[in-house]
Every structure is written in structure tokens, then in C-alpha cells.
């Protein structure tokens, strides 16, 4: 990338963040706000450095839960959209259930899931899956339905087999939508993990936040939020880099 484009692309958001942080720091200092009420950015960074061991340890736990949850979620969504694609009646059967699963606030389900599946990894993974599979399925099903009927005809008129059509038409057509579904899923999976850890756990960033709040370790809460954001951003850019690689092969 050209130096100029880098500056053009990254300078505005970078400046905006910098200005917000500066304003924050200055107001905390000028209004002499106590750090248990609202820590300044400098306080948060100090906390991050002081307790990096705890934060890193629990970040890894949360990160692991998210990865497992996302992978399972992607597999489930591929299965469901595949079934919807192959069996027309399955769509009618599953759609009301899918919608219902989204109407019930997952937050209210979390305590029940903890009762059923314990406070281990499994209950968190289920919560993450419940959070993330819906946008994945919706994106996939929409993409499958949007494959141009005339393209399908064109493939058929060449005597294409089903497998050839999946590989050469469906896969590349669906890819962009699938990846944008993945991006959404990455970001919201973090929420799922935190909820799971908040309600029943003795580890993970959600748990760190939950126990730090009542102890007025506000800067640790903020530091945890920062770690969560980093996880979300990392995951997001992971998908973006996969996207760039794949779309170089199948550009649109």
C-alpha cells in the first residue's frame, strides 16, 4: 500500500480515538474524578500493565470459549442452511423454531443452561452458539436463494453435475455473504461469552469484570473491556484476512 493511502485510511479514525482519550484524561484530571468512579485512560493502562498476568490468563479462557463456540456455530449453520436448501419442507419446519430461538432473550436462558450443563466450557459454548448461529444461517440462506436462476440454467445446459455446480457456482456465490455473517458472529460472540461467564463461572474476562465491579476495582473492569475489544477486533480481522485471501481467488 502507498504511504499516502495508509495515512488517508488510518489517520482519521486514529485521530478521533486519540482526541476522545485526551478529552477523557483531561476531564478526569480537571474535575478530579475518583478512579473508582471513572478511571482515566492512564489509570486503565497502568492497571493493564500491573495485572497483565490475570488479564492475559482470563483473556485466553474467554478467547478459547469463543473460538470453540464460533466453530460449532459455523458448523451448525452450514448444516441447517444445507438442510433448508436440500429439503424445502425443512425450511417450513425449522424457520419458526429459528425465530423463536431468537425471540427468547439468551440472557434469561443462561441461568437454566448453567443448571443443566454446569459452569464449565460447555454452557458458555452453547450460549455463544445461540447468539451467533442466527446471523450466520440467515446470511447463508439468503445467499443460497440469491444464486441466479439463469446461472443455474447455464450450468445445467452444459450438462453440469450437482457437485460441479456446488463447487463452481454455489461456493463462490455464497462466499461473500457467508464471510460477512462470520464477521457479525465474531463480534457478537464476545457478548455471548461474557454473559455466560457473568452468570456462572469462576474464570474468564466476564468473571473478572463481575467480581471487580463490586470491589470498586473500576479500572480493572475497564481493562477487561479493553481486552474483550481486542479479542473482538482480532477475530474480526482474522475473518477479514481470510476474506481477502479467498476473494483474491474468487473476487467479486
Amino acid at each position: 500500500m502507498q504511504k499516502e493511502t495508509i495515512i488517508k485510511n488510518y489517520l482519521p479514525p486514529f485521530t478521533a480515538v486519540l482526541i476522545i482519550l485526551l478529552l477523557w484524561q483531561i476531564s478526569v484530571m480537571l474535575l478530579s474524578i475518583e478512579s473508582w468512579f471513572l478511571p482515566s485512560p492512564v489509570n486503565i493502562i497502568a492497571e493493564l500493565i500491573n495485572s497483565y498476568k490475570i488479564l492475559f490468563e482470563h483473556s485466553l479462557i474467554t478467547f478459547f470459549e469463543i473460538i470453540v463456540g464460533l466453530v460449532i456455530s459455523i458448523l451448525i449453520s452450514l448444516l441447517i442452511s444445507g438442510l433448508i436448501f436440500w429439503f424445502k419442507s425443512f425450511e417450513k419446519t425449522i424457520y419458526p423454531l429459528l425465530i423463536t430461538s431468537q425471540i427468547i432473550p439468551v440472557f434469561t436462558l443462561a441461568p437454566i443452561l448453567i443448571v443443566w450443563f454446569g459452569t464449565g466450557l460447555f454452557s458458555k459454548v452453547i450460549i455463544i452458539v445461540l447468539f451467533t448461529f442466527f446471523p450466520l444461517v440467515i446470511n447463508l440462506v439468503t445467499a443460497i436463494k440469491n444464486v441466479d436462476i439463469d446461472m443455474i440454467r447455464m450450468f445445467n445446459s452444459h450438462g453440469s453435475t450437482k457437485l460441479q455446480m456446488y463447487k463452481k457456482l454455489y461456493f463462490p456465490s455464497i462466499l461473500p455473504n457467508f464471510l460477512s455473517g462470520c464477521k457479525v458472529a465474531c463480534v457478537i460472540s464476545v457478548i455471548g461469552a461474557v454473559i455466560g461467564e457473568w452468570i456462572g463461572s469462576s474464570s474468564g474476562l466476564g468473571w473478572v469484570m463481575k467480581i471487580s465491579g463490586p470491589q470498586f476495582q473500576t479500572s480493572r473492569v475497564f481493562a477487561s473491556i479493553l481486552c474483550l475489544s481486542v479479542i473482538a477486533i482480532l477475530l474480526f480481522f482474522l475473518v477479514v484476512s481470510i476474506e481477502k485471501k479467498l476473494l483474491r481467488k474468487y473476487p467479486l
Binding site: S157, G159, P251
Partner: protein, 257 residues
């Protein structure tokens, strides 16, 4: 002597495509009723008719991608697998946006399972005739409508099927591009000696390109008339000759019945 004569006579009657008694319904509505058409090798047949007369459906049936209610399509007297003898080109160019020109042109051959080397050789051979050798690395969105359509033609022609079905392939192009492509098309088809069925609603196009014009009508879709076009009397550019105008008048009369 007699045997040879008989053989010659047989060849004369030997139709490349035999469209036998095609009927097609869409729910309760009859779309096509009793379509019979014999086309011999090297013919260029235009099928013309009002919209809704089922001419595109007829092409889908000939291509094998739509099953008729009754009837069959025979090529050299036999039923054939989809894509084995017949290439089908639709109105939209249907280029895959994630493939460049050469990869798009290769699709038909790829689906038939030819080796990469064979496909590459064939594309470099054909792309010269199609004036596409400069564009092989281009993506579809970088090409003009006329060029895109040419790539679609290349994709259809390169599989070497003797029969080509064209569903208003120039319908989406502007008049100037259309007329240059007309001439070019005629050149290509005679060069690759194809038998062609063209579906169109443009009467000029139907007469200019074909040596037989089949007129269809609607409700239900059926063939009402056929005209043989004397190619010697139709100049590619001249749509004002008496012969052309008379033919056009006759067809318009048929269509307005």
C-alpha cells in the same frame, strides 16, 4: 448406383434436429402445443413470436433443461445428454464475476472434464478468432456489454457442439453494437459451421440472420407459419430491399393475427 442415390436421398432428409410433438403445460395453462420442427445441418432458423408465446420455453426444452409434457428432441435420430450436442446461449451473458475472461470461456470445457492443457490450447486458438486475445486476463466487470457477449459466445462455441441455441443474445445491446455483432456472428457461425436456432422478437434480426423464419403465436404457443429466406436476396446491411420488406410485411401480418 441405386444404393448411392437412396443414401443421398436419405441424407437430404436426414435432419440434424428433430423436434417431435412438444407439448408443455404450466399448471393448467398450455404454454406449447404440438410443436414439430425439423432442422437440417447448417441451417439458421429464427423463431419469432409475441412475448408469452413460449419461445424461450421451447429453447429450454430443446436444451434439455426443461422437461416437456410430451414429445422428444432427437439429434441425428437419437436422444442426447444435456450439453453433449447442443450449446445454449441466453440473453444475459451470465459470466461468472469471479472468473476472468479466459476462465469464463473455459467453463463449458471444464464441466466436460477436459485437461487444463487442452483447455488452454483451445482458448488461445479460439480467442484470436473472437478478437479476445487481448482481454483474456480481464474481469467481466471491466468489459463493455458487446465484449461480454462475445465472451459468452466463445464459451458456447468452444465446446464444439454442432447445434447452438440463442435466446435473444443481442437483446440487451444497443443498436450499433448489435449490428456489428450481427455481421460478426454470421462470420463466426459459418466459420465454425454451426446449426442455429435463434429466438428473437426483432423481425429484422430474424430475417437478416436466418435462412428459415418460424413464426409462432400465443395462447397456446404454436407454430403458425414458416418462411424460407433466400440468402442471395438478403443483403446483410440492407433492410430496405423489396424482398426484405415484403417478407417483413408478411411476418407482421402473421404476428398480428
Amino acid at each position: 448406383m441405386l444404393k448411392e442415390l437412396l443414401k443421398k436421398e436419405e441424407q437430404k432428409n436426414n435432419n440434424l434436429i428433430n423436434i417431435k410433438n412438444i407439448n408443455f403445460n404450466f399448471y393448467d395453462e398450455t404454454i406449447l402445443s404440438g410443436i414439430n420442427l425439423k432442422i437440417s445441418s447448417g441451417e439458421f432458423v429464427s423463431v419469432i413470436g409475441p412475448s408469452g408465446c413460449g419461445k424461450s420455453t421451447l429453447l429450454n426444452i430443446i436444451a434439455g433443461i426443461t422437461k416437456p409434457k410430451t414429445g422428444e428432441i432427437l439429434v441425428e435420430g437419437k436422444l442426447v445428454n444435456i450439453g453433449d450436442k447442443i450449446s445454449y446461449m441466453q440473453q444475459k451473458d451470465l459470466l461468472l464475476p469471479w472468473r476472468n475472461v479466459s476462465e469464463n470461456a473455459a467453463l463449458g470445457l471444464e464441466l466436460k472434464g477436459f485437461s487444463e492443457q487442452y483447455i488452454q490450447d483451445k482458448i488461445s486458438l479460439y480467442s484470436k478468432d473472437f478478437g479476445l486475445e487481448k482481454y483474456l486476463e480481464y474481469m467481466p466487470h471491466e468489459l463493455s456489454g458487446g465484449l461480454r457477449q462475445r465472451v459468452a459466445f466463445l464459451r458456447s462455441v468452444i465446446v464444439d457442439n454442432p447445434i447452438m441455441l440463442l435466446d435473444e443474445p443481442l437483446g440487451s445491446l444497443d443498436a450499433i453494437t448489435k449490428s456489428t455483432l450481427h455481421e460478426w456472428l454470421m462470420k463466426m457461425f459459418s466459420k465454425f459451421s454451426k446449426t442455429i436456432i435463434l429466438v428473437t422478437h426483432d423481425i429484422d434480426e430474424a430475417i437478416l440472420l436466418a435462412n428459415r423464419v418460424v413464426v409462432m403465436t400465443t395462447n397456446p404457443g404454436r407454430i403458425i407459419k414458416e418462411y424460407l429466406v433466400d440468402r442471395k436476396l438478403v443483403d446483410k446491411r440492407d433492410i430496405t430491399s423489396n424482398y426484405f420488406i415484403q417478407l417483413k410485411k408478411d411476418i407482421i401480418k402473421d404476428l398480428s393475427l
